[in-house]
């Protein structure tokens, strides 16, 4: 299995945000633009962080924003947002964040293959820095190894 296609609608590059909530909201709007999730999924992603803290910042510079599977998710997919200026999420080790990857999955049993692919891609690699520096949709799709 490879990652699902990441269409141009699901990619926002060099977004200007003032704080982590705006960064997550931008990622939510990309999911919605790509038909992956309803607008309310962004609220759910923000609520997860408000409730549990900035644990979604799973590696230096990268936030994996996500919420639980629910009716807001239309299909499995990811969105990629790079920030013009990195923002702090309040994580003790991995701030500031320059790349937000938003993950939406339909059912919890289908996500395993998808996150395994993310692990393949990001483990011990330069993919986060490469994404942060991406200049075009093509760059992002090439780094992720996904079709447009």
């Amino acid at each position: 299995m490879s990652l699902p296609a990441v269409p141009a609608e699901a990619i926002l590059l060099g977004v200007r945000v003032d704080d982590w909530r705006e960064a997550v909201r931008a990622a939510g709007s990309a999911l919605t633009a790509a038909g992956i999730a309803d607008p309310s999924y962004a609220d759910e992603m923000i609520r997860m962080i408000e409730e549990h803290g900035p644990y979604v910042v799973i590696a230096p510079g990268l936030a994996l924003a996500h919420a639980r599977p629910g009716p807001e998710v239309r299909e499995d997919g990811i969105a990629v947002v790079t920030l013009a200026t990195p923002v702090d999420f309040g994580h003790p080790y991995n701030d500031p964040v320059s790349v937000v990857l938003a993950l939406a999955v339909h059912a919890s049993d289908t996500h395993v293959a998808l996150v395994a692919e993310l692990a393949n891609l990001f483990n011990d690699s330069t993919a986060i820095a490469d994404l942060a520096a991406a200049k075009s949709f093509d760059d992002v799709q090439r780094i992720l190894g996904v079709p447009a």
């Binding site: 549990h52 900035p54 799973i58 994996l64 919890s108 692990a119």
Partner: protein
């Protein structure tokens, strides 16, 4: 051996921890049953777990447990995970 990876939603971050823990344990030649779970189901999922893998935010919420709680900083750094799992497994 039973290992549980915990996050808030039980899908994204704990899934990555599960996948990477399985990889590292495979390389170390250690057999383990690794599950991804979220806080709401922690008490049932983590019963009898020897090791709980999680991020710094969840340590307090996990509270008192007989398991070794391993706090992972960079989920994509398999060297960190290897070192911490080896330490916990003695």
């Amino acid at each position: 051996m039973k290992i549980v990876a915990i996050c808030g939603a039980g899908i994204g971050s704990s899934g990555i921890l599960k996948v990477n823990a399985e990889r590292v344990l495979g390389r170390l030649g250690i057999e383990a049953d690794v599950t991804a779970a979220h806080l709401a189901t922690l008490t049932t999922d983590a019963a009898n777990a020897q090791i709980i893998l999680t991020s710094p935010e969840f340590v307090d919420a996990i509270g008192k447990t007989n398991a070794d709680v391993i706090v992972v900083h960079n989920y994509f750094d398999t060297a960190e995970l290897t070192r911490k799992l080896q330490d916990a497994l003695g």
